[in-house]
């Protein structure tokens, strides 16, 4: 129960604090909340845009979560999704004549493989060379951005446009958008994201591989003693994480733009870290957190127009405050002080205690 309660309370607290701050700036918090709610859920189109922003966050949130379970911190989702989108766009631009069902399949696969490879590199470096994945994924983000610029500007620049974007992909690559949302680009990528969340759950909690990943994340030495190869598991985990992030490209390139647009991502990769954190690295939690962050992103879009003192950057403030509230372990421990002390008993006389894990509340 507490598992669900804490994130929900954290969100409420973060929103309350954020709107309170806006109140100091001279806007009525209730008025702001109204604008947020209307902006995110006011019409079919608004709700559609919320879903559109949420979809990539599901993928990147899952990506971070999968790596995290294997004890890895994937800060490289941004680079992985860039490469995924780029690969899909290149395929679609270079062979525009591929017929329909084949097009999305191939391009989707390309996005997954490209993202996966981009994730496998830091995975391999960590496993075989011992260099830390945080550093390597950050650096690979820059390389991915450079690579994307080069391909877009020098190899595949769209001749019909002044914008930094690639030539459009063939019509046979496009995936269906749902008409339900008043023109908002909600495509098949959304159900795909939900399926991915289900598969990730299945992987983590119902397969030997998923168990091995979690075991490695929990205790590398115990996993090794049990006959698991941490190196192999880590490489697989980072590859999967990269592939999940790469799937962002499916929604963007095949379901929305029909091309690779430089800078299309408002840092979905980094928001994915927040999404995974808020979602407690659980697939269902990730979906819920992605929806929330998508709604924040959409809901704050109109603040510039509708208020005098607040701009859409409030979205970032709100996100930050929610994350701070989630992470305020001390606060939550203090709130359930009595119960927390009760946990001491089992430890009273027990042998050596393990180091506290990175994240306090376990998963499952």
């Amino acid at each position: 129960m507490r598992r669900f309660l804490q994130p929900v309370l954290a969100v409420a607290l973060g929103l309350g604090l954020g709107l309170g701050v806006a109140g100091f700036a001279g806007e009525s918090p209730w008025h702001l909340l109204g604008i947020l709610a209307r902006g995110a859920f006011g019409s079919r189109y608004d709700f559609g845009m919320t879903l559109f922003y949420s979809t990539p966050l599901i993928f990147t949130g899952l990506s971070v979560a999968v790596a995290f379970h294997a004890g890895l911190f994937n800060i490289g989702a941004e680079g992985q999704l860039t490469l995924g989108a780029l690969a899909a766009a290149i395929l679609g631009a270079v062979w525009p004549r591929v017929p329909w069902p084949l097009g999305p399949l191939l391009a989707g696969l390309a996005a997954i493989v490209a993202g996966g490879l981009w994730g496998a590199i830091p995975g391999w470096l960590r496993a075989r060379r011992g260099s830390h994945e945080v550093i390597n994924t950050i650096m690979l983000n820059f390389i991915a951005a450079g690579l994307a610029s080069y391909v877009t500007l020098y190899l595949l620049q769209n001749p019909a446009s002044q914008n930094p974007e690639t030539r459009p992909i063939g019509a046979g690559y496009l995936i269906r958008q749902f008409g339900l949302f008043g023109g908002a680009p909600v495509s098949l990528a959304l159900p795909l994201a939900l399926v991915a969340a289900g598969l990730v759950w299945l992987l983590l909690w119902r397969t030997p591989l998923g168990f091995e990943m979690r075991a490695v994340g929990q205790s590398e030495s115990a996993a090794r003693m049990a006959g698991i190869e941490p190196e192999r598991v880590r490489i697989i985990a980072m590859t999967l994480a990269g592939g999940l992030a790469g799937m962002v490209g499916i929604g963007e390139v095949l379901g929305n733009a029909g091309m690779f647009r430089l800078g299309f991502s408002p840092e979905y990769g980094f928001m994915g870290i927040a999404v995974a954190l808020l979602g407690r690295n659980q697939p269902a939690g990730v979906v819920a957190a992605a929806l929330l962050f998508g709604a924040l992103h959409k809901g704050t879009a109109d603040l510039d127009l509708e208020t005098e003192h607040v701009t859409r950057e409030l979205s970032l403030v709100l996100q930050a405050l929610i994350i701070l509230s989630v992470c305020a372990d001390g606060l939550w421990n203090w709130m359930r002080n009595g119960a927390a002390r009760g946990r001491g008993f089992g430890e009273v006389d027990s042998g050596p205690k393990a180091e506290p894990p990175l994240e306090k509340e376990g998963v499952l």
Binding site: R206, P208, M225, G346, V348, G351, P352, A354
Partner: protein, 507 residues
């Protein structure tokens, strides 16, 4: 009782949640004595000491020190009153020198600067007085465990503690270090210090204490003078039933089939340091227990690594390993274990368990690829729970709660959980490293019985242990390891404790 007690606990009750870890604990300790506190894991002895040291505040009861009643708000009050505690896991800053570690938190200053010179002079006097020589300049993490412990004790003496609490001080010590420690403690006692010794090794209690208090389930079962009691009586008070302290093990009937054979196993150390294993050759037949005796750190951990090939390239430099009829020299650990190799690792928390995960998942660790736990290709929680519940019942892991995190089990029950898991795969070769370290007497008995039973059912057992009693009791053959080599071999009954001890020391 003519003399006044130095330390007295009266009616201490301390609850965690609904459970009383201490229920009306009374304790009375005379000055200038060594007092043992024994009890199984979770019996409340550590809780009582933490109350005395000010870490826990009791709900009821009084603390009297030196004839006065005290209330502690925190350990610093207790320290100010002359109480010091050496924790089971040392509280030392690894990269700092011994001197810095002692000064940490008690820096004497002169004009605002730390006066290291005077501090050192005072410490050397203390060290000389109590016979506790220490290397003051080297980083403490490079020192042997026994030295680190000495630093911990000096830390207390530097803070002018009169009452020393030692929590399981010998759990990590070699036999030599242990006897050294107790020599030092006796000297401290003779200088007038009062020493409280939390332990579950009855032998130590019998040999080195003046009086004993036995804890069971949060209560004091009795306080006796050591010379008026016996280990059997103490064990019975601790567990509440008669405990077999040393098992009668029937002679082995080894099969001809060889379970494990290593030949000329070698392992180079890092850099130019000595080889960590050299020319290790031995064989274990099915149906026999071969014990590797040795002071810890003489290559036992490396031997386990080398047999299982746990880290490619790093753990074997030369030699061959044959396991259950196969040459497994180049194999990966997982494949070797799949032949039917059970392993009880030397460090149960770090190597044997996923501490934050529930019992069920810990039971699955290493068995996750066996088809028995799957349905339609996916892991089946229902099957896993059924198997884990059955094993908990069979191996008496308490509490019977499948959801409890492994870290919250007592040490003995953690070990029983590992034993349950490793025996559940019905190993044909069992490698048990320090299988009863830090485990209470009741659990020791049950683990030893299991190991012997596995042998009688035809498993080859390699027992790696630094507990001489355990080696002598269980092993059909004893090999002695010293500095990475096997230096002696004995048959069952052919070795005395003294002889083994000498060999372990390299004589």
């Amino acid at each position: 009782m003519a003399r006044n007690a130095e330390v007295e606990l009266r009616g201490i009750t301390k609850r965690f949640g609904g459970v009383a870890a201490n229920a009306g604990v009374n304790l009375r300790i005379l000055p200038g004595t060594i007092h043992g506190l024994v009890g199984e894991n979770g019996a409340g002895k550590s809780t009582a000491m933490k109350v005395l040291y000010g870490i826990y505040r009791p709900e009821e009861g009084e603390i009297w020190v030196g004839g006065e009643r005290h209330h502690w708000a925190s350990p610093s009050d207790a320290i100010a009153c002359g109480i010091g505690m050496v924790h089971q896991h040392f509280m030392l800053a690894g990269p700092c020198s011994a001197l810095d570690n002692v000064l940490l938190g008690a820096e004497g200053t002169r004009w605002g600067w730390i006066d290291r010179k005077r501090a050192r002079a005072r410490l050397e006097t203390l060290a000389g007085l109590y016979g506790l020589p220490v290397d003051w300049e080297r980083p403490v993490e490079t020192l042997a465990v026994g030295q680190q412990q000495r630093i911990e004790i000096l830390k207390l003496l530097y803070r002018e503690a009169r009452i020393l609490i030692l929590d399981e001080p010998t759990a990590v010590l070699t036999p030599q270090e242990t006897s050294l420690l107790f020599g030092n403690l006796k000297r401290l006692r003779d200088e007038g210090k009062t020493i409280l010794l939390v332990t579950h090794k009855l032998k130590e209690v019998m040999a080195f204490t003046d009086s004993v208090t036995v804890f069971r389930a949060g209560r004091v079962m009795g306080q006796v003078e050591t010379r008026r009691t016996s280990p059997e009586e103490l064990a019975m008070l601790m567990v509440g039933r008669k405990v077999v302290l040393s098992l009668e093990v029937a002679a082995a009937q080894p099969a001809r089939e060889i379970a494990l054979e290593v030949s000329e196993l070698g392992l180079a150390g890092p850099g130019q340091s000595r080889r960590r294993l050299s020319d290790v050759s031995f064989a274990v037949r099915r149906g026999e227990i071969v014990g590797i005796a040795g002071v810890e750190g003489n290559g036992q951990a490396e031997l386990l690594q080398a047999i299982l090939n746990l880290r490619d390239g790093l753990c074997r430099s030369s030699g061959t390993v044959r396991c259950l009829g196969q040459d497994v020299t180049g194999w990966k650990a997982g494949r070797i274990r799949d032949l039917g190799v059970g392993v009880i690792p030397g460090d149960r928390v770090c190597e044997g368990l996923l501490p934050e995960r529930p019992v069920t998942e810990n039971f699955l660790l290493g068995l996750q690829r066996t088809p028995g736990f799957r349905r339609c290709g996916f892991l089946s929680p229902a099957r896993l729970e059924r198997a884990a519940a059955r094993a908990m019942e069979e191996y008496d892991v308490r509490p019977r709660d499948l959801g409890i995190a492994a870290a919250n089990l007592s040490g003995g029950n953690q070990q029983k959980l590992i034993v349950a898991r490793e025996f559940d795969r019905q190993p044909r070769l069992l490698i048990a490293a320090q299988p009863t370290r830090g485990v209470d007497v009741g659990a020791v008995e049950s683990i030893h019985r299991r190991i012997v039973r596995a042998r009688d059912e035809g498993a080859g057992v390699l027992l790696i242990s630094s507990e001489l009693d355990e080696i002598l009791e269980l092993s059909d053959r004893i090999l002695v390891m010293y500095e990475g080599r096997l230096v002696a071999e004995f048959r069952r009954g052919a070795a005395t404790e003294r002889e083994l001890g000498l060999r372990m020391g390299g004589a």
